[in-house]
């Protein structure tokens, strides 16, 4: 049977190529995701290994691990240094500060993309502690005020040379420096897109506002003293609020943190890969079903001469396995290329990663192969069983139809059951159990609708194809009729496209609802005329700038909002949550933000106020006393003293004063400004903007600009999602091409007849093209409906979490359907061409 399978495969190599393509793409996505994240991981592992190579023990301010880490870290008094240095076993203890600094271009704009960290370090002059070195050819280390050394990759990227003057932005201002040297990592590892600026130690302290402060002490042990022993000795003398760890421990904790976030990233990629594979499975199944149908007589002949039905199943399954094997192998190769391409493409837009070879783990290859082969075989099993049920007499009956009408009822029953189960899953997931159930529910919903789709394929073909006969005459009529003749085939092809379109529609509906909700709540609840934020994601608004603002007489109120991480429990450690907490100034906040606080914002003076629906969700009530744990390690008990209507900033508020006592890094996330009575907004803005000219990171926006900015960010996220879903859509379009190509081989005599009685090639192409368009539009309409419903449901479930508005982006959805139509035209190019080139005589003589 293996030989028969191989021969069968070879005989249908063209149609199998397209099937293989859908497997290749799906497997490539899976493999690409793993190779990409493994490679990044590997690069950073090396980088951190390098960074902590010279560290025996490092002393830092104590920060709990749930705190978000940026360029800024808490500092401590430098007086500690002497105590550490005199601990027995310490060979050398080197003081260090680190913070944020970013290069500016000649226009005063920030250089380099935001995201990757931009560090300022104090230059450590010690041969073994040094993680960075400045080679003789690249200048010298910074030795005093006005001098900076730049890491060599950043310098290369921005054409910075030794001797040049550069402007540098800090959280609280900017300065001009002479570049005196270019720094290289000791082991030549590069830093990806992050940048490192080095200053002389005292200068660094001054620039980072850390006079008399340190962020770390790097300690090396005497000969023969292990880091662990050293750690013990240091811990014995360590004051409260400080912690020490060995270099190895630090490296591990950083690597672990990175692994977690890369793991999330990989999972996200794999979800999209899964979608692509699901779509691929539809296409494989459809292809094998058509192939089996076309070989009905051949299979029946095999049965007639004595093949058992099990042998027929095995033959079809073997054929699928062979296709799966070859395609998966190609997919693994394509995936490695994809990972390479992804890294290069991200590099081109400024996201560079530490250099290194691509990491292709054995598990990646195995997984890719297994996924590809299993999906192919499983998808082909249903058609295989159908093939095995072919009665031997079918070989003798010309054009045996072998379609059962009764199966329609079963289909309806199964389809509605699966759809119902999907809806249950969705509801259960949305209301109680969370995202996994939503995912499974959505999957079942897709499958259910796909099972039901053949039932509506005929009427849908009639409806969607109705303008075709009038527009294109006979080719149009035939195109319409062709979509109706095999409803299962049409439906399966359309369903594959449906999945991708449903997901992009879902994203469109949800994102536009988010945008609209945020915009409305911004416009409704924020009375502020101007908003001030930091251009760097990791730092807040400069405190100096806020002080300057307070001096402006044309402003009625300047109110800061600070946001930090906190752990909250009601006493039982098992219900501990980590969440955002925001701090407001009760004296000024009402002038810029209608919080809807009950009994009033002053309630924050005594305790905390919490948004109403969140209270319900967590089972809290006014009067409850909660335990709050801050990243600094401080623990305090606080009473819920009021409620809040707005979900903004996470919905839990404390007073600014209380925040400042618990958070050392406490720059405002947002400053809201109201102009004084009778002052023109433009004039006030100009004043604020003028003040901001000394603070390159400060961003001044009107309320509507702020909203537009948010919308823009959502838009970028949507673009990323759509980009990742594009592959699933491409696979679905390949599916249309595949089905058409298969249908055309079936209709070869019919096309020959049409050509004989006078249809020109253009008309044949038109016929094929419009069939593809109807199928694509059918799939897109199903997808848009499904995606719209999903978006509506998810929005409804999240209504309490700030998604108050449902917004249907109708135009966008219509555009999606139209684009699907265009995709149909593209999908039809090759099949239409081969149909128009059918030789009339071959077709007539075809048997």
């Amino acid at each position: 049977m293996l030989r028969t399978a191989v021969k069968g495969m070879w005989a249908h190599k063209l149609r199998l190529t397209l099937t293989a393509l859908s497997i290749i793409l799906g497997v490539a996505f899976v493999v690409g995701s793993f190779v990409f994240t493994d490679t990044i991981q590997d690069g950073f592992d090396k980088l951190f290994g390098d960074a902590y190579a010279g560290v025996g023990v490092q002393v830092e301010a104590e920060v709990l691990d749930f705190a978000q880490q940026g360029e800024d870290v808490p500092s401590f008094d430098e007086g500690v240094l002497d105590g550490i240095a005199s601990v027995p076993g310490v060979k050398v203890a080197v003081p260090s500060v680190r913070g944020f600094a970013q290069l500016l271009d000649s226009e005063g704009e920030l250089l380099g993309i935001s995201g990757p960290p931009k560090f300022a370090f104090s230059w450590v002059e010690h041969p073994t502690v040094n993680r960075l070195t400045i080679l003789e050819a690249d200048g010298r280390p910074p030795t005093g005020p006005g001098e900076v050394a730049v890491d060599i990759e950043t310098a290369t990227r921005h054409d910075i040379t030794v001797g040049q003057e550069v402007d540098v932005a800090f959280e609280n201002g900017k300065g001009r420096f002479e570049v005196v040297g270019l720094a290289t990592s000791v082991s030549q590892t590069d830093f990806g897109s992050s940048s490192i600026l080095l200053f002389e130690h005292r200068e660094a302290q001054r620039l980072l506002r850390l006079e008399g402060q340190l962020t770390a002490i790097v300690v090396q042990a005497d000969e023969g003293v292990s880091p662990e022993t050293l750690l013990e000795s240091i811990e014995a003398v360590l004051p409260d609020g400080l912690m020490a760890a060995t270099g190895e421990e630090l490296k591990e904790s950083v690597v672990e943190e990175l692994e977690t976030s890369l793991g999330f990233f990989n999972t996200a990629l794999l979800v999209f890969a899964g979608v692509a594979i699901l779509v691929g499975a539809f296409i494989i199944q459809n292809t094998f079903r058509i192939i089996v149908a076309q070989r009905l007589r051949e299979l029946a002949l095999l049965r007639a001469i004595g093949a058992t039905s099990r042998q027929i199943v095995r033959m079809v399954a073997t054929e699928a396995a062979l296709v799966g094997l070859v395609a998966s192998a190609l997919g693994v190769g394509a995936g490695i290329l994809l990972a390479y391409g992804m890294r290069e493409a991200l590099g081109l837009i400024g996201f560079t990663f530490p250099r290194g070879d691509l990491v292709v783990e054995t598990r990646t290859i195995v997984l890719g192969m297994v996924v590809g082969v299993v999906i192919t075989v499983v998808s082909a099993l249903l058609p295989a069983f159908k093939a095995s049920s072919v009665p031997p007499v079918a070989a003798l009956q010309a054009g045996a139809g072998h379609t059962k009408r009764a199966s329609l009822r079963n289909r309806a029953i199964i389809g509605f059951s699966v759809t119902g189960l999907g809806i249950v899953g969705l509801v259960v997931g949305l209301v109680w159990l969370g995202i996994t159930y939503v995912g499974v529910g959505a999957l079942l919903l897709f499958l259910g609708v796909a099972i039901l789709a053949p039932l509506v394929a005929r009427p849908a073909g009639s409806l969607l194809g109705s303008p075709l006969p009038r527009l294109f005459g006979l080719p149009g009529l035939l195109a319409k009729e062709n979509t109706r003749r095999q409803p299962r085939r049409t439906a399966a092809t359309a369903s594959a496209l449906m999945i991708g379109i449903a997901l992009v529609s879902f994203v469109a509906v949800l994102s536009s609802s988010i945008s609209e909700s945020v915009k409305q709540s911004l416009l409704e609840t924020f009375a502020a005329d101007l908003t001030i934020t930091s251009l760097n994601f990791n730092t807040g608004v400069s405190g100096d700038f806020v002080e300057d603002l307070d001096e402006l007489e044309d402003l009625a109120a300047v109110s800061s909002v600070r946001v930090g991480q906190v752990q909250i429990t009601t006493g039982d450690p098992s219900d501990e949550i980590t969440t955002n907490i925001a701090a407001i100034d009760p004296a000024t906040v009402e002038q810029v933000w209608s919080t809807g606080a009950e009994p009033g914002v002053d309630a924050v003076v005594e305790g905390m106020i919490v948004e109403t629906s969140q209270m319900d969700e967590r089972g809290w009530a006014v009067g409850d006393i909660l335990t709050l744990k801050f990243p600094s390690g401080d623990i305090t008990e606080l009473e819920i003293t009021g409620t809040l209507a707005s979900e903004a900033f996470g919905g839990i508020l404390i007073s600014e004063q209380r925040y400042l006592t618990h958070y050392e890094l406490n720059a405002p996330a947002l400053v809201l400004v109201a102009t004084a009575e009778g002052v023109e907004l433009d004039a006030a803005r100009q004043q604020v903007q003028d003040l901001a000219s000394d603070y390159p990171l400060v961003q001044v926006q009107t309320k509507s600009e702020f909203a537009a900015d948010f919308e823009n960010q959502i838009g970028q996220l949507v673009a990323v999602f759509n980009g990742l879903l594009a592959l699933a859509i491409v696979i679905a379009i390949l599916g249309i091409t595949n089905t058409l190509a298969l249908s055309i081989t079936e209709r070869i005599r019919e096309i020959g007849l049409l050509r004989a009685v006078g249809m020109v090639r253009r008309q044949i192409r038109r016929m094929v093209r419009w069939e593809a368009v109807v199928v694509a539009v059918f799939g897109a309409v199903l997808g848009v409906l499904l995606g719209g419903i999903l978006g509506w449901a998810v929005r409804l479930a999240l209504a309490d979490d700030g998604l108050e508005v449902f917004n249907l982006p109708a135009l966008q959805l219509v555009v999606y359907v139209a684009l699907a139509g265009v995709a149909g035209v593209i999908a039809a190019i090759l099949p239409a061409r081969s149909a128009s080139r059918i030789k009339i005589l071959d077709a007539i003589a075809y048997e």
């Binding site: 006979l474 007849l753 009685v757 005589l841």
Partner: protein
């Protein structure tokens, strides 16, 4: 309906071939399907082409009808040399001037009888001459079958629909390739009666390939082919005379 209405010189036959040569394959395996055939199909005539399997009779029909091209010589439809035409013009010529009836698979399965009959008209996006349509449909007895799909028609009815389609565009010539090959003798007689009537009543020129002497007997003349060459022509044939001739060949 007179053949002169087609506007060609009276002396020009509906279809003719001069020294037609057709070779299949290459080198040693090459088969000479037509070895220099010259032939005139006069207007208003019903011509049958006969010959054993492999004699080239289907090839002759296909090259005469513009479905296939000649390697040598020339075929003319209504005075137009087919080798001078590109695919598009050849297709348009077939659409306007040639009607086809094949042995099997004559109808588009998704279209009903009426739509199948009107196929050449619809392809050309021309208006239907209702009187002409009614006359053909009436003559062929298809009035109550017009809205049936091909699968709902008997074999004989399907072939009658094919004949109606072949006649609808008033072609110069109708080419029929074993039109009764899949029919029982009653349906076969009926169909040939209709074709004969089209020749007699409206002056339709018909050329038909068959291997069956009783079928060929409906024609005005029979052309005998062997090994790609015309070996005999017979006018006013009957089944017996054809039989006799074929028998004489065997001896």
């Amino acid at each position: 309906m007179s053949s002169n209405n087609h506007g060609a010189p009276v002396s020009e036959p509906a279809v003719r071939m001069v020294d037609g040569v057709k070779i299949y394959g290459e080198g040693e395996t090459a088969v000479r399907a037509l070895g220099g055939v010259s032939l005139r199909i006069e207007r208003g005539q019903f011509t049958a082409i006969m010959g054993p399997s492999g004699s080239g009779k289907s090839t002759l029909l296909h090259t005469l009808a513009g479905l296939d091209t000649l390697e040598g010589g020339e075929a003319f439809i209504d005075g137009v040399a087919l080798s001078t035409l590109k695919d598009r013009d050849l297709t348009l010529l077939r659409r306007e001037k040639v009607g086809f009836v094949f042995q099997t698979f004559n109808l588009i399965p998704t279209l009903n009888a009426e739509e199948n009959i009107l196929l050449p008209i619809s392809i050309a996006r021309e208006d239907v001459e209702q009187d002409w349509f009614d006359q053909i449909v009436g003559t062929l007895g298809l009035d109550d079958r017009l809205h049936h799909l091909p699968t709902q028609l008997s074999g004989g009815q399907q072939q009658r629909v094919a004949v109606a389609r072949a006649l609808i565009s008033r072609p110069i010539i109708v080419c029929a390739d074993e039109p009764t090959g899949n029919l029982d003798s009653r349906a076969s007689d009926e169909l040939l009666g209709f074709i004969r009537a089209a020749v007699d009543n409206i002056g339709q020129t018909v050329v038909m390939v068959t291997h069956d002497p009783t079928v060929a007997a409906y024609a005005d003349q029979v052309v005998f082919l062997e090994d790609g060459k015309v070996i005999h022509e017979m006018t006013d044939p009957n089944a017996e005379s054809i039989f006799d001739y074929l028998k004489s060949l065997g001896e």
